[in-house]
Structure formats: structure tokens, C-alpha cells
Amino acid sequence: MTIQHAAVDVVIVGAGAGGGITAMTLAERGLRVVCLEQGAWVIDTDRPHASLDWEWTRQAQWALSPNVRRRKSDYPVETDDSKAFMWNAVGGSTNLYTGTWPRYRPSDFRKGTEHGLAPDWPISYEDLVPFWQKADEDYGISGVAGDPAMPPDQTAFPSRPLPRGENGRLNAAALDKLGWHWWPMPTSIIADPYRGRPGCNNSSACFAGCDIGAIGNTAVTHWPRAIAAGAELRTNARVERVETNDAGRAIGASYIDTQTGQRHFQPASVVVVACNGIGTPRLLLMSKSERFPNGLANSSDQVGRNLMHHTLGFVDMWVDAPTESFMGAIATPIICEEFAETDVSRGFVNGITLHFIRQQGAGFQALGAFSNNRAPWGKGHHEHFRRHFGHGMTILVYGDDLPHPDNRITLSETETDSSGLPAAKLDYKPSENDRRLSDWGLERAVDVARALGAFDVKVNNLRDASGHYRPNAWHLLGTARMGKTADMSVVNAWQQSWDVPNLFIIDGSVMTTGGAINPTSTISALSYRAAENLADRFAIAARGASMLA
């Protein structure tokens, strides 16, 4: 028997960045909000960094991939094509991201105009500026204003930058020598106390989140406010369907309490899906019905398609000077946006950025950091370790991958989660443009290593021996994209489903293109914009009318 709950204004599925911002915004505007999250709260003291075995634990129980850690709150991702990373809990994947916070650039929203291998967004850079500013304030962003590689909108940061460290200084000098752009990386990690959170203590282990709350995780930055404003958050609540009525409107969400197995139904006037670029299309496809036989909001057949991860590759380099490679927030040194815009003379469209990052603990460094340049087993082990440990730096090369309809999320026919619901199936192959872009970017990173006089350089293009590219898929974008017309997109400019107008999608799956940088700042800005619009015009949404009218 299913437990029926009292109707609310909005039910949100997923308590990550999009869900947290939406819940806070709507509740603070007086709407009755329930959020359903299949994970639980993360207890900061459960994180591994204060344990001697922190490096092992981080690769096991705290692995970025749900397929490795296999927690009950996770669902598997059937794939041979990428290592899809996510976290299912209050705060979502902001529980274990690096907090890297650059903004998309104006041309990212106009790729249809620029080259036509991806569509234009239905909104512009300028539409998001006020919402990036809100995100910066609420997360607490550290950085330096005045970057000439970006429009002059980011005039101040709530926090001064984190320590640059030897990594930042050495690479800045190398980029000066090359005559290339560099700038301190903006991050959602605060250097000093801010809104009750302590400043970062440079512990180096941000990939498993932050024990002290210095990193902007929506479980810390947004959920306390949402709950104080009256939002109800139900954890261990795994949504299996968004339900619809005969008129084709969403009427609420059916979910399973993963602790008891009890089924529930939460009715609502408006449904918001905020489950990330894999979870959102999975839920929409699981919500198929007689009226929506191809899945909910999918008359365009675009749900699950156009998956983007970014092209990724690593260049590890080791120099004679000490680099403090085991201390400091991992991704905070600097970013180079010299090559972020399209220049077809390079042989491809779109751009790349270079991110200068740190190499974490001794075990990870002995295993070869990000390039598998491990200390050999046997007699030469300690000699290699002595030479390399504390002298390494890494350049992460991000490229803007093209959306492709065959890069997609579907439902697995063979794997299920712990509730018996179908797992997600992920297919992803880079395009010719992606490959050229990635290779070219890796060559530029090697140029930096040469400018530094590195004594050892290793490139990891994330391809296996057969040439199969298997990226670390930190970013899950594009699978319910926004567009100008209903035939080639899933949601409109207000992140409202074209097919089911009282259904909204508020997460990275709506992104039309991926940019060449980390997306959480832009996912957050989009979430503020969509949520504020929903609050402003809730009556329109509740009666199932178009926000475009």
C-alpha cells in the first residue's frame, strides 16, 4: 500500500546544487516545498581525511564512481565509455567536487552562430550575470577580480584567494615566459571565515569533500537556509516515477523509502527534477506512460541525448624545485584561458583551458598521480619516490566537447539499483573535433612543462591501449537541454518542459553546450534564475501554462 502525503506547491527530486538552490529560493518566497533525496546527510566526521588510511578509503568507500563504492544510495551506471562520477546525498556532487568556479564565457552561449555544430542557447551570458553574483555570495567564492579573459562583471569576490603555493607561483612564471594568460582560479573554497564557515586549512584532500565546511557544498551553504524557511527534506527517498494525469500534467512523485521499502506518493502542483545529467534523463525515461510512451517530456526524442563530459587529459610534470604537491586545496592554483575561444587555424572549433592542480597524498603520488607514472615496484622504488614526491604538478586540460545525439543516457536492460529500478546506461564517444581539441591542448600543456624545465613529463590522454577514450566524467551535461524550439530540446529558456509545462528541470542536464570549464557555477546561476522565475510566476506554472507566453 502506498502512503499518500498532503499536497504541496512544489516537489523537488534531488537535493544537490540545483535542488538545494531551488528549495531555498522557493521556501524563502513562501511556497510549500518538499524535496526527495535518495541519499542521506553526509556527516563531515565520516569523511576519511582524519584517518591514517584516508587515501585508501577515498578510493574505496569514497570513490567518485558509484560503480566502485556501490553504496545503497547509489544507482549503477552501465557503461564501458566513461567513469561517471556523482554523489547521491544532501548536497549531491558538491559533497566531493573541487570547488573550481570559473564562469562560462559569452561565446559559449552562441556556438550555433559561431560554427553550427552545437545550437545557440535560448539565453545569453548577460542573462546569467546577476545569478552568478548570487551564487558567488551564497557559496562564498574566493578569487581575484579583473581577469581580462572574461567580461568585467565579476567586480569583487566574497573571499580573498587561497594560498597560491609553489605550484601557483612556478606555473605563473612559466606562463609569463610563454606570454600566455593566467589567473588565480576562482573557487568555492573560502580563505577566511564566512557566514559561519571556517576558512580552508589547506588539507589537500578536497576530492572527498571538506571535513570543516570550507568548501561550498549546498548541504552547508543552502540547505540550512531552505529548512529554516520551511522546506521539508526527506532523505532515503528514492523517486521511481514522476506521475501525470490524463491532461498530461505532472501531479507529483512516487518514491520508495530505501530504509523500509515503503512506497509513497507526494502530490504537488509543480514538479522539479534536479537529479544531474544522468539521473534526470533516467527518471524521465522511467516515467513513461501510455500518454508518454517514450518517457516524460520526450516528444522531441532529446531526453538522454547530447551528453557532454568535456574532453579531459592530464599532463603530470616534475621539477627540481619543491612544489608542496601534497598540501593546499587541490584545484586552486591557476587557470590559463589563452586558448578558450575558437581559432579554426588550429584545426578544430571550440576551445580549451589549462588548469594547474596539485597531486595529493604520498600513495597517490607513488602510483603516478594523474598519469600512471608510478614508482616502479622492486629495487628502484624508493629512488623514484625520493626524486618525484613533493616535486610534481599537474595540468588538467579541459576541452569543450560537441553535443552528439548518440552520446546518450538510456535505461539499462541488465542492471538495477538496490530497489530494483533500472540502472542508467551511458554511451559516449568523442567526436573528431573533440579528439583534435584534446590532443592540441595536451601539446600546449607539454609546452608549459618544457618552459618549466621539468625533468619528467607524462601525458595521460585517457585512452586505453586500443585507443578507446574513457574520461573521468566529472561533468554530466546536456541530456535534457534547453533550446529555442520544442523539436530539438527538452526545456525552454525557463527550464520548463515543452511537453509538461508544470514540470521543470533544474540541473546540469539543461546545458546546451558545455564550455571548456567546470560547470557548477553556471549550473548554480541557472538554478537561481529558474527558481526565482518559478517563484515569481508560480501561478502560471501551477496551471500548466507556458512561461514563454
Partner: protein, 165 residues
């Protein structure tokens, strides 16, 4: 060899992990810091309940194997099954470098490497606005404003959208 079922087998496994990470004047050997036991336990949990048996079969060693035979067996495994060997090696390396004596040895090299990154964190010099390698003084960098985005001609570049795997 089937793990640590007998003293003899435990001694052989210790010799195997020491062949992977031997000791020297500063660093202890892997077996001295308990890597054998952690290898079996973590292999059991993450690779499978039959991990000890797999290890046994992969190496094919007798209790009386010489040091040279152990090294040769490891090299043969690495060549035959790189992925399986890498999984084992990952456990050995991470188990070794979490040991307190190893962390002490790293500090003896002159690195301020802590036993755990939290709760103390690391002391680093604060951002220095006067340092041009921390606070950029250059004016390099550019972007294309929204209204200036124009079509580019990539017609000579081939089928850029083709999936290539």
C-alpha cells in the same frame, strides 16, 4: 601460497610484498608495516572473496621460491594481466604509504608531510597581493562579447562531428 593460512604462507606473502616495495636505509619494507595483511583484507573486499586464491594462481609460487623466482613471477603476472596486477599494486602502494613509519620516513626527507591531512591541515603562506606571480599584473587574455560572435569557416576541416571513439 594461500595468503596467511600458515606461518610459512605468511612468510612467502611477506616476501612477495617486499619484492614490490623493499626496505632501504630510511624506508621500511612493505611487510614490516603490515602490507601483507592489508593486501589480503582489501583484496577480499574490493576484488573479491577469492582474492587470496587469485593471488596464489597468478604467482604460482611454492613456499621455497627464491627471491629471483618471486620477482620473475611478479614480472610475468604484470606482462600477462596488466589490469589485475595494477589492482593488486594499488592496494600494496596505498597500504604502504598510509603506515606511520613510512610517513615518518617522508618527513625525514624534509617534507612537512602530515600523518593525516585533517584536522590540522597544512600551513601555507597567504595570498600575497604584492607578488606578481600570485596577483597577476599582466593584461593578457581576451574574450568575444556576445554581440561579436560571428560565424567561422571550418569547411576545410573535414567531418568534425563524426564520432571516433
Amino acid at each position: 601460497m594461500a595468503g596467511l593460512d600458515t606461518d610459512t604462507q605468511g612468510v612467502l606473502l611477506a616476501r612477495v610484498v617486499d619484492a614490490i616495495i623493499p626496505g632501504d636505509a630510511l624506508f621500511p619494507s612493505a611487510s614490516r608495516v603490515g602490507v601483507s595483511e592489508k593486501l589480503l583484507e582489501r583484496g577480499f573486499r574490493t576484488i573479491g572473496p577469492d582474492f587470496a586464491g587469485r593471488l596464489d594462481r597468478a604467482l604460482g609460487l611454492t613456499d621455497a621460491a627464491s627471491d629471483e623466482a618471486i620477482a620473475a613471477a611478479l614480472a610475468a603476472w604484470e606482462a600477462r594481466d596488466p589490469a589485475g596486477f595494477e589492482d593488486m599494486l594499488t592496494i600494496v602502494y596505498l597500504s604502504y604509504y598510509e603506515a606511520l613509519p613510512v610517513k615518518s620516513a617522508i618527513r625525514a626527507l624534509g617534507h612537512d608531510y602530515h600523518d593525516t591531512p585533517q584536522p590540522g591541515g597544512y600551513r601555507m603562506s597567504a595570498f600575497d597581493p604584492a607578488n606578481p606571480h600570485e596577483n597577476p599584473q599582466h593584461r593578457r587574455g581576451a574574450y568575444v562579447p556576445t554581440d561579436d560572435v560571428r560565424p567561422v569557416d571550418w569547411s576545410a576541416l573535414g567531418d568534425l562531428g563524426k564520432r571516433v571513439g
